[in-house]
Amino acid sequence: MKSFIVVYLAFVGCIFYYLNQDKALQESMDRGSEIYADFCVTCHLEKGEGVEATFPPLAKSDYLMNNRKESIKGVKYGQRGPMTVNGKKYDNTMMPMGLEDEEVADVMNYIMNSWGNSGAKMVTVEEVSNILK
């Protein structure tokens, strides 16, 4: 009986933790979607499709999903020089947007969980703060 209670409490605790995580992620994504509409949509477009040869796609982007640290760095400090996204080459400049660390985390959570992207661990403010130029 005692062990049952321990297992039960652990189980409830886990569910609670995950549900909370989900809620935190959803709230971060909601804030991120506003940042996206404000700073990103004019180039990367509404569904993250980008513009071929000019602005790389975010939707189903291998670069974004496989280069987490570089992607956060790009949003935080700007991105320049050649890169390959989904087999296509891009060589353009994205100037730094002047976003705060929390805004970088929110917009990263939004783009990594939209338009067919999913499964990434939630980006936290601490993670963004720890990424330096």
Partner: protein
């Protein structure tokens, strides 16, 4: 069966014919170019504004905040440039000389600024003098309020008219339902001030309670092109539409250009902003672009260097990465042509005092357009 195939072929051919007609919203690409684009200044990121000094030096504003003097093939960073609010589309933006620069040395700047108590920033206009490699006598002439952390639509093009008034644009600052149609709020407007920043007493909203008296027109979205018509002396602007509906307008005292009540554009998401494109009391554009070209920078060609282009309007395209040439009959666009196809995001275009056209391209630099011999 045979007949129906013939009918189908006929239909396809006729469709092609109807597509080949040159409406004013179709663009033409010339088969051969009659000029060469020579890269004169390289290594620039977002060269937002540029102006030639009487001694042949070229002052260039980088959106990142750097002010550069290009002279005798050398780039020099000028100190004491205005401090900017680095956020979204904000930065060090346009630059213009006083019409009597030779005697008074005033240089005018627009930039995003954090001046004021509230968080965020808004568009500011300032002037300064160039002494050695630094700006001096910096004077803030206008600062839009309130500050906001929104990243879009600072406007910021500058132009003097023949009477010495300074015009500048401030975009809607991402608050389209509040700013553009309210004359008591900054943003979504063209402004007119004296060269020292004072408001002319005959500005249209002077005397109206709470009005932003420096405002000269309203209902604008985000004008990033402004130039003086060589014959009429009128100030012409173009402004970014949302998705579709970039416009060319002529600035007239007190006019309402309708944003966001009327527009030829739609939201980026594809949903409508409004179901009307015209309304009494609101101006129709002289020309509009569908789809949006993302216009930035604008000049009339007046020099004798390009005889075929005399009187034409040149406009940069950010979205489609070319320079657009528009032939005009009076106030009507009669022909559009794509120059410098796929050159990169064209941020600005001016005609220099030497009569040549200079084109600023993001990530590249400044090109001089040299007509081919013969």
């Amino acid at each position: 069966m045979k007949n129906s195939i013939l009918t189908l072929c006929f239909f396809v051919v006729m469709t092609n014919f109807s597509c080949a007609q040159n409406g004013d919203n179709e663009i033409n690409t010339p088969e051969e170019s009659n000029f060469t684009a020579e890269l004169m200044v390289d290594g620039l990121e977002i060269p937002w504004g540029m102006v030639f000094l009487p001694d042949g030096g070229l002052l260039i504003t980088e959106k990142s905040g750097e002010l550069i003097l290009f002279k005798d093939g050398q780039k020099t960073t000028i100190d004491n440039a205005p401090s900017i609010y680095l956020r979204g589309q904000g930065g060090l933006l346009d630059i213009e000389l006083h019409p009597d620069y030779a005697n008074n040395g005033w240089i005018y700047f627009s930039h995003s600024s954090e001046e004021g108590e509230d968080k965020g920033g808004n568009t500011a206009i300032m002037r300064a003098k160039l002494e050695g490699n630094a700006l001096t006598n910096n004077e803030l002439l206008y600062k839009a309020t309130p500050n906001t952390t929104k990243g879009q639509h600072f406007g910021s093009r500058l132009e003097f008219d023949n009477d010495g008034y300074l015009y500048f644009s401030i975009g809607d600052r991402g608050n389209r339902d509040v700013n553009p149609q309210d004359i008591t709020r900054d943003g979504g407007k063209i402004y007119r001030i004296m060269d020292d920043g004072t408001v002319p007493s005959d500005n249209p909203f002077v005397g109206q309670e709470g009005a932003k008296t420096a405002a000269y027109t309203y209902g604008n979205r985000n004008p990033q092109g402004m130039t003086k018509h060589p014959e009429t002396g009128d100030i012409w602007i173009h402004e970014h539409g949302p998705k579709g509906g970039d416009e060319i307008n002529i600035v007239k005292k007190g006019n309402n250009y309708g944003w966001p009540v009327i527009t030829y554009g739609i939201n980026y998401s594809g949903t409508p902003i409004t179901d009307i494109t015209a309304k009494e009391g609101m101006e129709q554009p002289l020309h509009y672009w569908l789809p949006s070209i993302g216009p930035s920078g604008m000049t009339f060609v007046t020099s004798d260097k390009y005889p075929d282009w005399k009187g034409n309007l040149l406009v940069g395209s950010l979205a489609f990465q070319y320079l657009e040439r528009l032939e005009m009959e009076g106030n009507k666009v009669t022909y559009r042509e794509k120059l410098m196809a796929d050159i990169g995001r064209v941020r600005n275009v001016i005609q220099g005092p030497d009569g040549f056209i200079y084109v600023a391209v993001e990530g590249k630099g400044i090109y001089k357009l040299v007509p081919n011999a013969g």
